[in-house]
């Protein structure tokens, strides 16, 4: 697998900022399994880390100056979603509200379904659904904020694969 293909896993702003030098550093050679794993893990981090998003969003290609220090992230997620529209990102306040709404709705749906299953005599399935509530709601809400602007096909693959991994891990955990 080439680095150019793996680079597509990164957010557009990250690719615009680091893409060229990243490819120059990696070179043309095929990557080892360890390096592929490293690049994939950091791609996930690039989507999720407020630090990395701030660094790449503030980048101005016309100048060579630094981006300046940031507050180091750590903002509560929902607050961040609602603030996006006021901080110059492509995510509007409406997107933030929809994302927050989707996240809350999916969380309540999973938690509610978990409670119902538990009371219906299926405690393991109920616990599994409840434990999935936050992670699934987070992943499902990503198209409205973290992944906005990413091609639908890429969103589908990232969200689909992540959900499959989450469900598989939960399924395995209930059988250990």
């Amino acid at each position: 697998m080439t680095a150019e293909r793996l680079l597509r896993l990164y957010p557009p702003a990250w690719r615009a900022r680091y893409g060229d030098e990243f490819l120059a550093t990696v070179g043309e050679a095929r990557l080892s399994v360890v390096n592929v794993f490293d690049i994939v893990m950091v791609a996930i981090d690039a989507w999720l880390s407020p630090d990395v998003r701030n660094a790449t969003r503030a980048w101005r290609p016309a100048t060579s100056g630094g981006t300046g220090p940031t507050n180091g992230g750590g903002m509560p997620m929902l607050k961040a979603m609602l603030r996006c529209g006021r901080t110059g990102s492509r995510v509007t306040p409406r997107d933030g509200l929809i994302g927050a709404g989707v996240m809350l709705a999916v969380s309540f749906a999973f938690a509610g379904a978990g409670i119902l299953l538990r009371r219906s005599g299926m405690p393991e399935a109920g616990e599994a659904l409840k434990s999935l509530a936050f992670s699934v709601s987070f992943v499902v809400s990503m198209p409205w904020w973290l992944m906005k602007g990413t091609p639908w096909k890429a969103q589908g693959v990232i969200i689909g694969v992540t959900l499959l991994i989450l469900i598989a891990c939960t399924w395995i955990a209930t059988r250990i």
Partner: protein, 109 residues
């Protein structure tokens, strides 16, 4: 103050060690990504993966501890900022204290 700067570097989580290597690598002058990996491998015996390297660079840049220079061809060199020098100096001082205690305890046994 030393404690505060140590905490800042530790706040980079799993990128704190690669970030320390990058700061050390840039302490003797600007380098681009490939030169950093070569230098870090020679100095620390660690080969940073390209993802980890740029994950750490993004965090250091976001904090103003390193800054990019004009690109040379496709490669962009980075240099240590004054804030980065302070963080590195305090971190190395802290590591030296820990090493001193460790060596003293080894000598006791």
């Amino acid at each position: 103050m030393a404690k505060k700067n140590d905490d800042l570097l530790a706040g980079l989580g799993r990128f704190s060690e690669p970030a320390l290597y990058i700061l050390i690598s840039l302490a003797d002058g600007p380098k681009h990504g490939y030169a950093m990996t070569q230098d870090i491998e020679a100095v620390a015996g660690q080969r940073l993966g390209p993802g980890t390297l740029y994950g750490a660079i993004a965090r250091l840049e976001a904090r103003g501890w390193i800054e990019p220079l004009a690109a040379e061809d496709r490669r962009r060199p980075y240099r240590l900022t004054a804030a980065g020098q302070r963080v590195l100096r305090h971190r190395l001082e802290s590591l030296r204290s820990v090493a001193r205690v460790g060596r003293a305890r080894l000598a006791e046994t």
